[in-house]
């Protein structure tokens, strides 16, 4: 996206050591295929994830949390929000304050298909995601296009690009993987931080996986902590997707879509 428009174009092209004129190599075929598959799986995961969260829109910290224990956050996203449909609680542990109560409220719950579709989509994130990481590593794609160069990570350069982005002054797309430094940081953040965090916190929610790998529970501070981190990582990814789409539109919608699909 960093080409001739504005001041950052000059910075980016000089650091890339390429002439701004002419066409750079377009997105590789494997990048375009990965982008298509991972986009569909991530959107499916986001949609089903919200459906699953609607069944129990309460978040906790630690290992255990339920309607009879205090929540960290309650999200008003389904009729289950603070429904209060419980019979009189009874004590279930002598002198420990643990109670039980029968639910009398018919909760919203679409997890039968919601969970299965979530995990089906998760396989389409994890398996193509592993291939993407292997290709990106051995193809030199990460080093050449995603990893910020030394000179790019200066306060001044970052500040200038931040200011341009906030004014929505986005350079026109070159249709090639020549990215600005903020763009590189966003992509590396998603690929190397948010996506792995999403998968790891997701795996921590599997009782079979944590039986074999209890370190996952220790790493995230318990089942419910992992679920809460899973949610906030989703929120971060959602913000990324929104900004990503805005940037694509601002930098030349048609050009960008063609570049990431047919590759010209």
């Amino acid at each position: 996206m960093t080409t001739e428009v504005g001041s950052i174009g000059a910075v980016a092209t000089s650091t890339l050591g390429e002439a701004a004129v002419g066409r750079a190599a377009p997105h590789a075929l494997w990048v375009r295929i990965s982008h298509a598959i991972l986009s569909v799986s991530i959107l499916t995961l986001a949609f089903t994830g919200v459906v699953i969260l609607m069944a129990h829109p309460r978040l906790y910290w630690g290992d255990a949390g339920n309607d009879l224990t205090p929540a960290l956050i309650e999200l008003p996203i389904s009729r289950n929000y603070q429904h209060g449909g419980w019979e009189q609680p009874t004590s279930i542990a002598d002198g420990r304050g643990a109670i039980s109560a029968n639910r009398t409220y018919d909760i919203f719950n679409q997890n039968g298909w919601g969970r299965s579709l979530h995990f089906l989509a998760a396989w389409w994130l994890v398996l193509p995601g592993i291939l993407y990481l292997l290709f990106g590593l051995f193809d030199g794609h990460f080093r050449a296009h995603l990893w910020p160069r030394r000179g790019e990570l200066t306060i001044g350069a970052l500040w200038r690009e931040m200011a341009d982005h906030l004014r929505l002054r986005i350079p026109a797309s070159s249709g090639a993987p020549r990215y600005g430094v903020l763009q590189k940081l966003a992509y590396t953040g998603v690929v190397f931080v948010l996506a792995p965090l999403m998968v790891l916190t997701g795996l921590t929610l599997s009782p079979a996986v944590t039986a074999a790998h209890p370190w996952l529970l220790r790493l995230f501070g318990g089942y419910q902590s992992a679920r809460t981190i899973h949610f906030f990582t989703f929120v971060s990814l959602l913000l990324f997707v929104i900004v990503h789409v805005v940037m694509v539109v601002r930098s030349g919608w048609r050009r960008q879509i063609r570049a990431m699909t047919v590759g010209d």
Binding site: N102, S116, P207, A208, A211
Partner: protein
Amino acid sequence: MSTRLITRRRAIVTGLASLGALAAAKYPAQLPPTHGNLLRMGDAFTYAAQRALLPGQSLVREYTPDDLTSFPATGTTDPGATVKSALGQSYRRLQAAGFADWRLQVEGRVSTPRAFSLADLKGLSARTQITRHTCEEGWTAIGQWTGVPLSVVLASVGVLPTARYVVFYSYDEWVDSVDMLDALHPQTLLAYGMNGRDLPVPHGAPVRLRVERQIGYKSVKFLHRIVVSDEFNGGEASSIESGWAWYTGI
């Protein structure tokens, strides 16, 4: 594209193929039917992957009495009041007599089918464990369970070597099953006690299943019959027939 690059790609493909072959060696020989349903195919893939990649009998984390938490009772909380069929009536009758006449029928592919009373089960070697109950809805609760390992009961009736699944029938007309790996897992219990007391009715009295490496709804409450089977048996009221995953290791 240099020739070197192609070599690297081939190396990646070969590496992944070897991993796949390793996993396939531990792949379950018989998979639950998917009924041609895309969602169930995903579940079957998760089942195959977890069985292939995870060690067979690793134990879930056990907690201390200080960790016990409040525990919602969801789903059926009293079959005697809500189940309209003959099963509901017999549950009401048994409950009135303190479950003294309750029997657990264990049959199917076993050498000596047998009906266990509550006293029979309590006479077998007991296990107490404090574990986390993980509900598909998203909540968790920590409870203490006392019962007899299912493996002990199965050993006492002599499971035939062809057996692959154990099917559970409940007084709230639910049917569900687990494979032999989960059935013989040391933490898979027929629980008659919760938090040091008799198992309360809302939590599945007199005896419920605990399958600790799966999601909560696999731990069938209000048991009355267990059938050992060579074949996968979805059952008409089972999870898979009602649109829920059969395998819920995640």
